[in-house]
């Protein structure tokens, strides 16, 4: 039964204590201390949690997040593990000893990380635009495009079609250039509000929107309002959409 320990997070605290039966499968969540640090864990079988059942997996993930957030709230700083991080026993050492040994070896790094993350949280910032709206705006300032469209009006259907193709190509290039310029400038702007930034992969977006940039930002929690104000201004611009999420435990910065 006690073959392995499922890991939620590392935080400050010297005491061995329990948070109650709030873990996966209603197992007890408790701390394993080493010096002034502790790992928050539960007992589990020596195999990863997996299932084909969506709701089951979803409930595990939500439990993981809830435990991490609960500890985060109480202790102010956490180093969260990803889902399904499980330590097993190795030869004669049981899982708890293995974990303590790791905490001992990593003590310096863990302490540094906790200090760096104090009073900070992770925020997701994704900027999307509507290429049609932005494209129309860019087209107004592009003389070549204006000429092309004027010319295509006075030409035969076949030629007009080719000219239109040419115009679309021009527009696409304009959009690409603008996206690059925007992303570069936006990243620099975000640097003012965040201690650290991770650039994430952009995602496929629906409903005619295109994701330009996807960032995880580590920010001082009390100062995040300024970031929100900045994003609100961008979101108010025609054709731009901002998704701003958080505060997350600092998964991207551990």
């Amino acid at each position: 039964m006690n073959a392995a320990r499922y890991l939620y997070c590392v935080t400050q605290g010297k005491k061995k204590m329990t948070f109650g039966k709030i873990g996966i499968d209603e197992k007890e969540v408790f701390t394993i201390p080493y010096k002034d640090l502790c790992s928050v864990v539960q007992d589990c079988p020596a195999q990863p949690y997996k299932s084909e059942n969506q709701e089951q997996v979803k409930s595990w993930i939500v439990i993981h997040e809830k435990v991490v957030e609960m500890v985060w709230k109480r202790r102010n700083t956490v180093l969260p593990f990803g889902f399904d991080t499980i330590v097993r026993s190795v030869q004669e050492k049981d899982a708890e000893d293995v974990l303590k040994e790791w905490m001992k070896d990593a003590y310096g790094i863990l302490t540094q990380k906790l200090a760096r993350l104090r009073e900070r949280a992770e925020y997701g910032v994704q900027v999307l635009w509507d290429p049609k709206i932005i494209g129309r705006r860019l087209a107004l300032g592009n003389e070549d495009l204006k000429k092309l469209s004027a010319e295509s009006n006075s030409r035969s259907q076949g030629i007009a079609y080719l000219l239109q193709q040419k115009a679309e190509n021009l527009m696409r290039k304009d959009l690409e250039r603008e996206a690059e310029k925007f992303s570069r400038e936006f990243f620099l702007k975000m640097n003012k509000y965040a201690d650290e930034i991770n650039v994430e992969k952009t995602k496929k977006s629906e409903e005619g929107r295109q994701m330009l940039i996807n960032l995880s930002c580590l920010c001082v929690r009390d100062r995040v309002k300024d970031l929100g104000d900045e994003l609100e201004r961008l979101n108010a611009q025609d054709g731009f959409f901002v998704r701003f999420t958080g505060p997350w435990p600092p998964y991207s910065f551990v």
Binding site: N53, K58, F81, G82, F83, L231, F244, W248
Partner: protein, 83 residues
């Protein structure tokens, strides 16, 4: 607007973090070393249907109309943000 209060995320935002990130421990004491990235992928596959279901539904409150329409279209499975 949500920007001033506590902004909210969706399950997808959570998955991006909880499956791909987090503190790393030396590999030799972790269960199913080679399997760890696979677990992530496996879970993603299992959850893929759910992602599309809630992707736009839980988006921030700047576009209430869109969200209400989405909510109706998706049989009101969309939870509204509390704030």
């Amino acid at each position: 607007m949500e920007f001033r209060g506590r902004p909210h995320g969706t399950l997808v935002d959570l998955l991006d973090r909880i499956l791909d990130k987090g503190l790393v421990i030396n590999a030799d004491v972790i269960i199913s070393v080679a399997g760890i990235p696979l677990i992530g992928i496996n879970l993603r596959a299992v959850l893929a249907g759910m992602e599309t279901m809630i992707d736009h539904g839980l988006m921030l409150g700047w576009d209430q109309t869109m969200r209400e329409q989405e909510g109706e279209r998706r049989g009101n499975r969309v939870e509204a943000d509390a704030t």
